[in-house]
Symmetry: C2
Subunit: 136 residues, 2 copies
DNA sequence: ACGCATTATTTGCTTGTGCATTGAATGCAT
DNA sequence: ATGCATTCAATGCACAAGCAAATAATGCGT
């Protein structure tokens, strides 16, 4: 443990604390705003967001659960239940995929698309507030 | 919604995603390492860390619960239970404070100090791995 | 065709978290 | 002193998350 190590550690630790505090503040704001205005949790919104994004790429709008897992930092089980919640709310539907019947397709419904498009401006607003408008 | 707004949003969103992913990765690693090697959760470690830090500043080593709350991003109730857990593990003790008997002092025990000093190198190692060694 | 390791998803269980409420102590106004 | 709003911490409750086990479908070697 040299003096240099101490300096490096101090630097790394303060970076970590800043990162951590910033993340917590943003998540907290997002959670409140999305919940109050659109009855959506942060994770729920994120999954809808990925689905909408994906639809642009492959207009079928279908996703295997595991494809969603990459991109959202949630365990498989958490994602499974989250999708179940979204389905109960009518924002997605699950369907078997024919070629590999272990897999489950998740597709966005019209209601899901609508809810996402309503919530999107709210999310953007909160993110801008925290991460700066940084105008070009 | 102008084109510039779109650009700003895209920028802000990608910043947010990076921040978010980075945070999740670090927390996940920290959780695993601290749990496996020292039987401590990330939040537990953070509270011990604040207590140790504070001891340096005011050698009495006593803290009101609310003083800890600032600095750890947890709700008051979560913090209350976390402290109860630490107390059960023998890392802190709670005591009434004489001047304002609503307040509760939390002080670190020797066992708490030891556990923290054991876990500290692990935390630093994980943080360095993620946030770079950035040697001066 | 049959067993067996592997992959995809779900479910049981336990735990940590937040919100709202409660219980206790304080300060202030009357 | 008494009442009342306020503050600190703890608790009841509901819910989301992770881990490990269960379930189901594949693919491969024989």
């Amino acid at each position: 443990m040299t003096e240099i190590d101490n300096d490096v550690d101090a630097d790394v630790v303060s970076t970590w604390r800043e990162l951590s505090a910033r993340h917590a503040a943003i998540v907290s704001d997002l959670e409140r705003e999305l919940q109050d205005h659109h009855d959506l949790g942060v994770s729920e919104f994120e999954v809808l967001d990925r689905l909408v994004e994906g639809v642009c790429l492959s207009p079928g709008g279908k996703f295997r659960v595991q494809e969603l897992a990459a991109g959202v930092s949630l365990s498989q089980s958490a994602l499974s239940r989250l999708i179940a919640r979204l389905e109960k709310s009518g924002f997605v539907v699950r369907s078997m995929c024919a070629d590999d019947r272990r897999g489950v397709f998740v597709n966005l419904t019209d209601a899901g698309r609508v809810r996402h498009s309503e919530a999107l401006p709210t999310q953007r607003r909160v993110l801008r507030a925290h991460l700066g408008t940084t105008p070009a």
